[in-house]
C-alpha cells in the first residue's frame, strides 16, 4: 500500500521512506490492484513527455476546444499571437496577405473611389452652374469672407437636403431592427418597407446575378433618394429628400460601423425582437438630424449694404478732392515749366484755387493751359501781372517784332544767346547793332556777327549785268556815288524797259538815276519789226528773218515794191540785208482782170462791159438779187475799191439753180416734196395735196418761156381722204390674203369703212390685222360670220382637236390633201375613217390609207393575265390575308405595264375592280362587304403605285359568283375581287 501511495504521489515517497521497496509480494499485490491503471498512467505519461505525440493529441482536440472556449477569453488570448503572426507574415511576404485580403478590399476601394469621383463631379457641376449667376457672385464673396473654396460654398448652398427616415434592416431576414424618422416626415409601415427593400435588394441581386456583397447602393425617385449602406449583419437605409452631398455616404457608413461595433453580437443573433437592441435608435437619430437648409437670414445684408453705401460716398468724396488736388498740382507744374510765366503764390481754399504771379505778354495764356488738366476753370481765380521776360525766347520774339529782319536773315537762340545769321543791308545791320547794345544790360547776348552786309551795290551790279544781256539795250556807263546809282546808255524803243526790269530787283528805284538815249537797233528782229510797222506789207507779202537777213516773199504792187526797195537801201549801211527779190510785181490792171474774170464765173452775174481808163475801173452788167454781191467779191483782190465804178442792173436769172431758189421761196413745197435739178430741169418728187400741185403747175407754166423745165409729174396727189382710202384698200387686200377669212363686201362711205364676211374661228383675228395698216380702227365697222374653213390647214387643226391623235400618228398636208400616217388602235382608225368620209362630202381629201393598226397582241396577252387574276378574302373580312400580298404585287406591276403600253398606243386603260361575297349572311351586308373589298384592293394597288384614277370600283355582292354555291359555310372562291380591263 505504501508502495502504491509512493507511486501515486511522490510526496508519499518521503513519507514512507522506511518501507522496504523490493518486496515482491507487494509488487504482486500492486500488479493485482492497480496494474491496469499503472500501464494507462505510463501511456499518458509517455504521451505527455513525447512532444510529437502530445502535439498530435492536442491537434485532435484543438478545433473542438476552441469552439467550446469562452469567446471573449479566447479572443483576448489569441489576439496578440494573431497580430504577431500577421505582422510576421507581412514582413516575410506582403503579397500573401494582400492576396488574401484583395477580394475584401477591392470592392471597398472601388466604391470609395467611385464616391470620390462622384463627389468631385458634383462639386464641379455645381460650381459651373452657379459661376455666372447673382448667387455665384454672392457666394464668391462668402468664399472670400470665410476663406473657403468657392466650390465648397457652392455645394453648401446648392445641396439642400434632409434625411427623413433611417431604417436599420437585418440582412438575414429583412426584418426591421430599428427605424427613426425626422420630425414631420411620414411613411407607410416601416416594417413592410424594410422587408420590401430587402426583397428588392434580393431581386436585383438575383436578377443580375450580382455576386457582390453590396446590394443596391442608391435608389432615386424624383426628389427622394434611398441610400443604403450594407454592413456585415445589417443594412442601413437612409431616405433623403433633396440634393445630398456625396460625403453623406461616409456619415451614414460611420453610423453603421459604430452600430456594428457596439452591438455586433446582438445584430448577428437578431431574431425579430428589437428589444435586444436598445440604443440603436439613438445612433440612427444622428443620421436623421442630418440636413441642410439654405439659411435665409444668415448674413446681415442690409447692414453691410448700408455700410458699403456710406463707405462708397465717403470714399468717392475723398477720391474726388484728392483727384482735384492732383490735377491742380499738374496744372501748377505745367505753368512752372512755361517760359515767361512766374507763379508767385498759389493756394487751395474751400475747393477753390487761387493763383498769382507775373506773365510776359508773349507767354502762353495761363487760362488756355487749364484746358486738358481737367481742373474746373470756374474754380480758378488768377491774378497775373504783365512783365517783360528776359528769357532769350521772349527777347527773340520781341527783336523779331521790332527789327523786322529781311528774309535773308535768320534769328535763333543758341546756348542762351540770340544769334542772327544771313545777309542783310547795312542799315538793318546798324539797327540790329543798336538793339544788341540796348539788350546788353541784363538781357541775353544778341550776336549779329554772323550777318553778312549785303549792300545795295551788289544788287545794283546784278541789275546792270542783267541790262547788258538785254537785246536792244546798250549800257554806256554806270557808277555808284553816295549810295546813289547812275546809269547811262542806249535803248531801242522796241527793247525791254529798263525801269520795269528794276522793279524785279531789290534796288531802291528812287536811288537810281538813269539816262537813256533812244537808238535804232540793227539787230534783224528789231529791223523787221520796224519794217513791218513802216512798210505795212499787203496780205500777199510775208516777211521773215533767215540767216540774219530779212526776206520778203509773195506778190505786191509796184508802188509797195518801190517803197520796200528804198527801205532796203537805207538799211544797207550797217543794217541787215533786206531781200525783196522774192516779191513779184503785180499791176492794178492785172488784179482788175482777175476780179472781172472771177465775176464772170459767178452764176446770176452777167458782166456787160468793163474797161480801165486813167487808172479808174468801170464795169456794168446784170445781177440776180440771189447771186453773190460783186462789191463783197472785191475785197481781197488788192483792187482799190475807190477806183472801181460799177453799174449793176437787177434781173432774174433763168439758170436752173436760181429758178429752183425762187420756186422754193414762192411755192413753199411741203416736207413730202423734194425739188432737184436733173439735166438742167427742175424736178419735183414726192406727195403733195392737190392744191399745192395746182400752184406748182401754174409756176411751171410761167417758167416755160425761156426758163428751165419744171417737172411736177412725179408729185403724187395725196389728200388725207385719198390716203385713208389707200390704207383701207391695203387692209382689205391683207384680209383677203388670210386663210380662213373671206371678205364678202366692203365699202367706204363718209370717211367710214364697212366690211362684212366670213371667218374661221381658227383664222387670224381681223381686228388684230388692223394694227400697222394706218387705218383708224374707230372708223372701221366689221361684221364677221363664223364658218368652218375647208382650207386643209384648218381642217388639220380641227382634226387634231377632235380626233386627238396619239403620238404615233402624224397629220400632214401634201398637195392640198391631208395625209394621216402612223400606227393607231383600231378604234382610233375607225374614227379617222369616219372623219374622212364626212370630209369627202365637203370636197376635202383625208387620206387614211397609210394608217396601220397597232400590234396589240402583247397588250391582249397582258389583259388576259390581268383579267384572270382574283384577290381572295377570308369569310367576313374585307382585307385580303397576307398570302395575297404576292398576288397584289404582281397584279400592280401588270396594271402599271398595261396602262403604260396603252398610253403609248394612244388609248387610256381603266381597270374595273369588282368585289364579290359569298352567300352567307344578309344580302345588304354582302353588298357592302363586296364594295369594301374592291375599295381595299384599290387602296392596296394605289399603295403599289397604280394611279387611282385608272381604278374603278364596284361591289357585285353575291350576284356574280365564280362558282355556284351550295354549302352552308360559303365558297372561298367567291369571296374575291376580280378585275376587268377597259380601253378608251
Amino acid at each position: 500500500m505504501v508502495e502504491i501511495a509512493r507511486n501515486v504521489d511522490p510526496d508519499n515517497h518521503a513519507l514512507y521512506e522506511g518501507v522496504p521497496a523490493a518486496d515482491h509480494r507487494l509488487e504482486r499485490l500492486r500488479q493485482l490492484l492497480v496494474g491496469v491503471e499503472i500501464s494507462e498512467l505510463s501511456r499518458v505519461t509517455h504521451l505527455l513527455d513525447e512532444p510529437e505525440q502530445l502535439a498530435t493529441a492536442v491537434g485532435n482536440v484543438l478545433p473542438e476546444a476552441t469552439a467550446r472556449a469562452s469567446h471573449a477569453q479566447l479572443g483576448e488570448a489569441l489576439a496578440p499571437a494573431v497580430e504577431r503572426a500577421a505582422q510576421r507574415s507581412i514582413q516575410k511576404n506582403p503579397n500573401t496577405l494582400t492576396d488574401i485580403l484583395y477580394p475584401v478590399f477591392l470592392p471597398a476601394i472601388r466604391k470609395s473611389i467611385g464616391e470620390k469621383i462622384d463627389q468631385t463631379f458634383q462639386s464641379l457641376n455645381e460650381s459651373l452652374r452657379h459661376i455666372f449667376t447673382w448667387h455665384g457672385l454672392k457666394w464668391r464673396f462668402e468664399a472670400w469672407r470665410t476663406g473657403t473654396s468657392f466650390s465648397a460654398v457652392v455645394l453648401k448652398h446648392s445641396l439642400i437636403y434632409r434625411v427623413e427616415h433611417v431604417f436599420l434592416i437585418s440582412r438575414a431576414s429583412g426584418l426591421l431592427i430599428a427605424h427613426v424618422t425626422s420630425q414631420d416626415a411620414t411613411s407607410e409601415d416601416p416594417q413592410l418597407i424594410s422587408s420590401m427593400l430587402s426583397a428588392i435588394q434580393d431581386f436585383v441581386r438575383d436578377s443580375f446575378n450580382e455576386k457582390e456583397n453590396s446590394g443596391l447602393d442608391t435608389i432615386r425617385f424624383g426628389e427622394l433618394r434611398l441610400w443604403s449602406e450594407v454592413g456585415q449583419f445589417a443594412t442601413l437605409v437612409a431616405v433623403i429628400r433633396g440634393n445630398p452631398p456625396e460625403e453623406l455616404h461616409e456619415v451614414i457608413r460611420d453610423v453603421l460601423l459604430r452600430i456594428h461595433q457596439e452591438s455586433s453580437r446582438a445584430l448577428e443573433r437578431f431574431d425579430g425582437d428589437s428589444s435586444q437592441l436598445p440604443g440603436v435608435e439613438t445612433q440612427l437619430q444622428t443620421c436623421v438630424e442630418l440636413q441642410h437648409m439654405d439659411s435665409k437670414e444668415g448674413f446681415p445684408w442690409l447692414v453691410v449694404t448700408a455700410a458699403l453705401l456710406v463707405l462708397t460716398v465717403a470714399g468717392g468724396w475723398f477720391f474726388l478732392s484728392w483727384q482735384a488736388g492732383q490735377r491742380w498740382q499738374t496744372y501748377l507744374s505745367r505753368l512752372a515749366t512755361q517760359p515767361g510765366i512766374v507763379v508767385s503764390e498759389q493756394k487751395i481754399r474751400g475747393g477753390q484755387f487761387y493763383i498769382a504771379g507775373l506773365r510776359d505778354p508773349l507767354a502762353v495764356d495761363p487760362q488756355s493751359l487749364l484746358s486738358g488738366t481737367e481742373v474746373d476753370p470756374a474754380r480758378v481765380h488768377s491774378n497775373w501781372q504783365f512783365y517783360q521776360s528776359l528769357e532769350p525766347v521772349f527777347v527773340l520774339k520781341r527783336l523779331t517784332a521790332s527789327l523786322a529782319p529781311p528774309d535773308s536773315v535768320r534769328l535763333s537762340v543758341a546756348n542762351g544767346r540770340i544769334v542772327a545769321e544771313g545777309e542783310a543791308t547795312t542799315t538793318w545791320i546798324n539797327r540790329a547793332r543798336a538793339a544788341a547794345q540796348q539788350l546788353s544790360a541784363g538781357g541775353p547776348v544778341f550776336d549779329i556777327s554772323g550777318v553778312r552786309d549785303v549792300s545795295a551795290e551788289e544788287r545794283w551790279q546784278a541789275y546792270v549785268s542783267r541790262l547788258e544781256t538785254q537785246p536792244g539795250i546798250v549800257v554806256a556807263d554806270q557808277n555808284v556815288r553816295d549810295g546813289q546809282f547812275y546809269i547811262t546808255g542806249l535803248r531801242d524803243p522796241l527793247a525791254a524797259d529798263p525801269q520795269s526790269l528794276l522793279a524785279e530787283t531789290q534796288v531802291d528805284p528812287s536811288r537810281v538815276h538813269a539816262s537813256w538815249q533812244f537808238y535804232q537797233s540793227l539787230e534783224p528782229q528789231f529791223v523787221m519789226k520796224r519794217l513791218t510797222a513802216s512798210l505795212t506789207p499787203p496780205d500777199s507779202v510775208r516777211l521773215s528773218v533767215v540767216d540774219d537777213r530779212i526776206v520778203a516773199a509773195g506778190e505786191a504792187t509796184t508802188a509797195w515794191i518801190i517803197r520796200a526797195r528804198v527801205a532796203a537801201q537805207q538799211l544797207s549801211a550797217g543794217g541787215p540785208v533786206f531781200d525783196i527779190s522774192g516779191v513779184r510785181d503785180v499791176s492794178p490792171e492785172e488784179r482788175w482782170q482777175a476780179y472781172v474774170s472771177r465775176l464772170e464765173t459767178q452764176p446770176g452775174i452777167i458782166v456787160a462791159q468793163q474797161n480801165v481808163r486813167d487808172g479808174q475801173f468801170y464795169i456794168t452788167g446784170l445781177r440776180d438779187p440771189l447771186a453773190a454781191d460783186p462789191q463783197s467779191l472785191l475785197s481781197g483782190t488788192e483792187v482799190d475799191p475807190a477806183r472801181v465804178h460799177a453799174s449793176w442792173q437787177f434781173y432774174q436769172s433763168l439758170e436752173p439753180v436760181f429758178v429752183l431758189k425762187r420756186l422754193t421761196a414762192s411755192l413753199y413745197p411741203p416736207d413730202t416734196v423734194r425739188l432737184s435739178i436733173v439735166n438742167g430741169r427742175i424736178v419735183a418728187e414726192g406727195e403733195a395735196p392737190d392744191t399745192w400741185i395746182d400752184r406748182a403747175r401754174a409756176a411751171a407754166r410761167q417758167l416755160s418761156a425761156g426758163g428751165p423745165e419744171f417737172d411736177i409729174s412725179k408729185v403724187r396727189d395725196v389728200s388725207p381722204d385719198a390716203r385713208a382710202a389707200e390704207h383701207w384698200q391695203y387692209y382689205v387686200s391683207r384680209l383677203e390674203a388670210q386663210p380662213g377669212i373671206i371678205v364678202a363686201q366692203q365699202t367706204e362711205r363718209g370717211g367710214h369703212f364697212y366690211i362684212s364676211g366670213l371667218r374661221d374661228p381658227l383664222a387670224a383675228d381681223p381686228q388684230a390685222l388692223l394694227s400697222g395698216t394706218g387705218v383708224d380702227p374707230a372708223r372701221v365697222h366689221s361684221q364677221w360670220q363664223f364658218y368652218q374653213s375647208l382650207d386643209p390647214k384648218f381642217v388639220v387643226k380641227r382634226l387634231t382637236a377632235s380626233l386627238s391623235p396619239p403620238k404615233t400618228i402624224r397629220l400632214s398636208i401634201i398637195q392640198g390633201r391631208i395625209v394621216v400616217v402612223g400606227e393607231a388602235s383600231a378604234g382610233w382608225i375607225s374614227r379617222a375613217q369616219a372623219a374622212a368620209e364626212q370630209l369627202s362630202a365637203d370636197g376635202v381629201v383625208l387620206d387614211v390609207s397609210q394608217l396601220r393598226e397597232l400590234n396589240l397582241a402583247e397588250l391582249n396577252q397582258l389583259r388576259e393575265a390581268i383579267q384572270t387574276t382574283d384577290i381572295f378574302f377570308s369569310s367576313g373580312r374585307v382585307v385580303p390575308g397576307p398570302e395575297q400580298t404576292p398576288v397584289l404585287d404582281r397584279l400592280a406591276d401588270q396594271l402599271k405595264e398595261f396602262a403604260e403600253n396603252a398610253r403609248k398606243a394612244g388609248v387610256t386603260a381603266r381597270f374595273m375592280l369588282t368585289g364579290h361575297s359569298d352567300t352567307t349572311g344578309r344580302e345588304t351586308a354582302n353588298a357592302s362587304i363586296s364594295a369594301a373589298r374592291a375599295e381595299t384592293v384599290r387602296a392596296l394597288l394605289n399603295k403599289r403605285g397604280v394611279a387611282p384614277e385608272l381604278l374603278l370600283v364596284r361591289g357585285a355582292g353575291t350576284f356574280e359568283p365564280a362558282v355556284p354555291e351550295n354549302s352552308q359555310t360559303g365558297s372561298s372562291t367567291n369571296r374575291r375581287v376580280s378585275i376587268t380591263v377597259n380601253l378608251e
Partner: protein, 164 residues
C-alpha cells in the same frame, strides 16, 4: 416589437394572395408579385403577453419549381404552405417547395392550408389524406378565402409556433 419573417409558398393560383387579402395590413399592390416576384404584407397577432408581427412574404406562385426564388426565403422563421383543395397536384408542389427551403435553410415551423374549402363540389382531397398529414404532427387547416374560415386561427397558430 417582435417580428418574424414568414414565407407563403404554394403553386400557381392556389389562392395565397386572396387568402391573406382580407386579414393583413398591406401597402404594396399585387403588381409586385408579377414584377418583383414577392409582395410583403403584415399580420399582427396579439397574445396576452406580447404581440407578434408576422411579416408575410407572399412569393409568386409557380408550378415550375425551377423558377422559385429560394433566396427570398432566407431569414424566414416560418412557412405557410398553401394548397388548392380542388387540385390535388398543388399539394405536391407545396411540399416540394418546403423541401427546397428546408434543404437550403434548415427545418422551420410551418402550417399547411388547404384552400378553397368553400368549393365542396369540386373538393378533391380526401379526409383520409388530411388525417394522415395531421398524424405527422403537421398543423393542417381547411381554409376559405371567401368565408375567411380558419384563416385567423391558422395565423395565430403559426405566430405561437414561431414566437416560442
Amino acid at each position: 416589437m417582435l417580428q418574424k419573417k414568414i414565407c407563403m409558398l404554394g403553386g400557381f393560383a392556389v389562392g395565397k394572395t386572396s387568402l391573406v387579402r382580407r386579414f393583413v395590413q398591406s401597402i404594396f399592390s399585387e403588381n409586385y408579385l408579377t414584377t418583383v416576384g414577392v409582395k410583403i404584407d403584415k399580420k399582427s397577432v396579439a397574445f396576452p403577453d406580447k404581440t407578434v408581427d408576422l411579416i408575410l412574404w407572399d412569393l409568386a406562385g409557380e408550378d415550375d419549381i425551377g423558377s422559385f426564388r429560394v433566396s427570398y426565403v432566407r431569414g424566414a422563421t416560418g412557412l405557410v404552405l398553401v394548397v388548392d383543395g380542388t387540385r390535388p397536384a398543388t399539394l405536391g408542389v407545396a411540399l416540394t417547395l418546403r423541401e427546397r427551403c428546408e434543404a437550403e435553410f434548415g427545418a422551420m415551423p410551418f402550417i399547411l392550408l388547404f384552400n378553397k374549402s368553400d368549393l365542396t363540389d369540386r373538393w378533391a382531397i380526401s379526409d383520409g389524406e388530411i388525417d394522415e398529414l395531421k398524424q405527422r404532427g403537421w398543423q393542417v387547416y381547411l381554409t376559405s378565402a371567401l368565408s375567411g374560415e380558419h384563416v385567423e386561427e391558422a395565423f395565430r397558430q403559426l405566430a405561437s409556433m414561431v414566437a416560442k
